[in-house]
C-alpha cells in the first residue's frame, strides 16, 4: 500500500523509474509486455518492406530502403535491450513471438503487393507509429523513454522518405498515380487501427495512463493523426478512402478537425487474432530464420567458450 503510494508519487513528480528501482509487479509486467510487443513489431516490420529490397525500382531507392529496414532492426535491438533491463531475455521474448504468445503490431500482417506500399508504409504507418511514440519519449520508465527518443528521430526521417516516394509517384505517369491511390486505399484504415480500439474498449489504458506509460488515449492520438495526414493526402492529390471524412470547424475545442467514418472493428479483431492475410507467413518467416540460424548461434557460443577456455589456460601457464 505504502510502497504503491510512494511509487505513484514518484511518477506524479515525473521522476524517471530506472532498472534497479523497486517497482510494482504490474508496472514491470505492463512494460515487459509493451516493450516486447514494440520490439517484435520492429522485427516483424522488416518483412513487408524487406519484400521490396530486391525489386526496388532505382538504386537510390534500394539504398534508402536497405537503410530503413536496417534501422528497424536497430530499433528492435534497443527495445529488446530496454526490455532486458526488466529481467527478461531476448530468447524468451523471441520464443513468445514465435509461439504466438506475444503480439506485434497488426499492421505488419498486411501485404506489400506494390512498390507504392513502401511509400505508404513510410508515410502512414511510420506516421501513425510516431504519433504513438512521441509521448513515449516521456514515458516514466527511463530506458524505454530513452530508446524512444532515438527511435522517434529515425522514424520521422523514414516518414519523410516515404512521403517523398509518394510525391515521385504522384508527379509521375497515370500508372504511378493509380499505384499510389490503390496503396492509400489499402493502408488508410489499417493505419487508423494502429491506435487500437476505442478508448471505451481499451483494456490496459487507464492504469497505463496513471503510471505515465501512456499519456494520450487511443482516440485522441487517432484524431491527431487524421488531422495531420488528410492535408498531406490532399497535397499529393490522393483521395482518402473514407466518404464520411469531413472538415468540422467545431472539433478539437474550436480549432477544427476531421470527422471520419467508423472503423471496421471486425477486421481489426480478425487480424489481431491471427487471420489477416500475412499473419501466418510472417511468423513462418521469422520461425524459419530462427530455426535455420540455430546452428550459427550454437557455433558462436561454442567458439566463445573455446576461446575463453584457451585464454584461461594461457593465463594459467
Amino acid at each position: 500500500e505504502e510502497f504503491l503510494a510512494k511509487f505513484q508519487a514518484r511518477i506524479d513528480r515525473e521522476e524517471k523509474i530506472e532498472p534497479n528501482d523497486a517497482m510494482p509487479n504490474g508496472y514491470r509486467k505492463t512494460l515487459v509486455r509493451q516493450i516486447g510487443q514494440h520490439a517484435h513489431s520492429e522485427i516483424v516490420g522488416m518483412l513487408p518492406e524487406g519484400n521490396w529490397i530486391t525489386r526496388a525500382p532505382s538504386l537510390r531507392r534500394k539504398a534508402a530502403l536497405l537503410a530503413k529496414v536496417q534501422d528497424e532492426g536497430g530499433h528492435g535491438l534497443y527495445l529488446y535491450s530496454a526490455a532486458e533491463t526488466l529481467g527478461v531475455t531476448r530468447e524468451q521474448m523471441t520464443e513468445e513471438l514465435l509461439s504466438g504468445k506475444a503480439k506485434y503490431s497488426s499492421i505488419f500482417n498486411y501485404p506489400t503487393p506494390t512498390w507504392a506500399d513502401i511509400g505508404t508504409i513510410g508515410w502512414l504507418v511510420d506516421g501513425a507509429a510516431i504519433m504513438n511514440q512521441i509521448p513515449l519519449c516521456r514515458c516514466s520508465y527511463g530506458p524505454y523513454a530513452r530508446a524512444m527518443i532515438r527511435v522517434c528521430k529515425e522514424e520521422s526521417f523514414h516518414q519523410r522518405q516515404g512521403y517523398e516516394i509518394l510525391i515521385s509517384l504522384c508527379n509521375g505517369t497515370e500508372e504511378q498515380k493509380q499505384m499510389a491511390q490503390d496503396s492509400i486505399n489499402r493502408w488508410w484504415w489499417p493505419s487508423l487501427m494502429m491506435f487500437g480500439p476505442h478508448d471505451a474498449e481499451s483494456s490496459h489504458s487507464e492504469q497505463s495512463m496513471k503510471w505515465k506509460i501512456k499519456r494520450f488515449s487511443n482516440d485522441e492520438l487517432r484524431q491527431k493523426f487524421i488531422d495531420a495526414t488528410v492535408p498531406q493526402a490532399e497535397y499529393l492529390g490522393l483521395t482518402v478512402p473514407d466518404p464520411e471524412l469531413k472538415w468540422n470547424p467545431e472539433k478539437n475545442g474550436g480549432k477544427g478537425g476531421y470527422d471520419h467514418g467508423e472503423i471496421d472493428w471486425d477486421e481489426f479483431w480478425r487480424v489481431v487474432k491471427g487471420h489477416g492475410k500475412m499473419n501466418r507467413d510472417r511468423i513462418k518467416d521469422r520461425k524459419k530464420a530462427w530455426d535455420d540460424g540455430a546452428w550459427v548461434r550454437e557455433a558462436a557460443l561454442a567458439h566463445a567458450e573455446k576461446r575463453a577456455a584457451r585464454q584461461t589456460q594461457h593465463a594459467a601457464e
Partner: protein, 250 residues
C-alpha cells in the same frame, strides 16, 4: 581509352551490385538480430560503390546512360560480374565466406586504386577501402567462429570452402578491358592482389582451422557474360519494376 575503361568499370560495378543483391536477400531472415543489421550494412556499402561506379561509367561512355539504366536495363549476357558474387546464398557459412573472399580482394585493390591516375577512381577507392576493411573483419570473424565452432558449423564452413574456392581465381583474372585500364594507370592490376589476398585468407583459415583446397580448374566466364542459371532469376526480380514500368521516375 573510353570503351575499355567503361567496360572495366562495369566489371567492378556489376560485382558490387550483384553481391550487394545477394547479401540484401538476407534482410529480415538472418540467424541473429545483429546480423540483420550487419548484412544490410554491407549491402549498403556494396550498392553505394556500385552507384558511383555506374555513374562514372555512364559519364565515360557519354551516351547519357545513368546508374539505373546501367544497373537495370541490360540482359543476362551483358552483365560482367565475376561468378563468385552471383552464387546463391545457400547458408550463412557460404554467405560470409563469399563476402570474405571478395573483400579480401577488394581491400588491396582499392588501396592500389588510391594511386590511380583517375581522380574519380581515387575518390571511390578512398571511400570503399574503409568499408571493405570492415567487411573483412566482420566476415572473417564469422568464418573463424564457424570454422572453429561446433562440428556442424565446421562441416558447413568446409563445404562452403570447397564450393566457393573454384570461383576465386576469376577475381585476379584480367580481361582485355581491365588490362587496358591498368596499362593507363586508371585501375589496378588485379593479378597484383594475389599475395595479399592469400595472406588475408590464410590468416583467417589458420584461426578457423580450415584448409585451403587446391583448385585444378578455376571457374571463369563472368567477365564475358557467361553466367550460371541462378543469375537469370536474380535479374528477373532485380529488373522487375524497370521492365514492367518502363521510362518512369521513382
Amino acid at each position: 581509352m573510353s570503351a575499355p575503361l567503361f567496360n572495366a568499370l562495369l566489371e567492378l560495378a556489376d560485382d558490387h551490385l550483384i553481391l550487394g543483391h545477394r547479401v540484401s536477400e538476407w534482410c529480415g531472415h538472418a540467424p541473429l538480430l545483429e546480423e540483420d543489421l550487419a548484412m544490410p550494412n554491407m549491402a549498403l556499402d556494396m550498392i553505394g560503390a556500385a552507384r558511383s561506379l555506374y555513374t562514372y561509367a555512364g559519364e565515360i561512355e557519354g551516351e547519357g546512360r545513368d546508374e539505373d539504366q546501367l544497373a537495370y536495363l541490360r540482359y543476362d549476357r551483358d552483365y560482367k560480374n565475376c561468378l563468385l558474387v552471383e552464387r546463391p546464398n545457400e547458408d550463412f557459412a557460404h554467405t560470409m565466406l563469399k563476402q570474405l573472399y571478395f573483400a579480401a580482394f577488394m581491400h588491396p585493390y582499392w588501396e592500389a586504386a588510391l594511386q590511380s591516375s583517375d581522380e574519380t577512381v581515387r575518390g571511390i577507392a578512398g571511400k570503399s577501402v574503409k568499408e571493405v576493411a570492415y567487411h573483412i573483419r566482420h566476415a572473417g570473424e564469422w568464418v573463424v567462429r564457424l570454422g572453429d565452432g561446433t562440428e556442424e558449423s565446421a562441416q558447413r564452413m568446409q563445404d562452403a570452402v570447397t564450393e566457393l574456392h573454384p570461383y576465386v581465381e576469376e577475381l585476379f583474372h584480367m580481361s582485355a578491358d581491365a588490362q587496358a585500364a591498368a596499362d593507363k594507370g586508371a585501375l589496378p592490376d588485379r593479378e597484383a592482389m594475389r599475395a595479399q589476398w592469400t595472406n588475408t585468407i590464410s590468416n583467417v583459415f589458420d584461426q578457423a582451422k580450415l584448409t585451403m583446397p587446391e583448385v585444378e580448374y578455376p571457374q571463369l566466364g563472368g567477365r564475358t557474360g557467361h553466367h550460371g542459371e541462378e543469375m537469370g532469376h536474380l535479374l528477373s526480380d532485380l529488373q522487375y519494376m524497370q521492365r514492367a514500368y518502363p521510362n518512369m521516375s521513382w
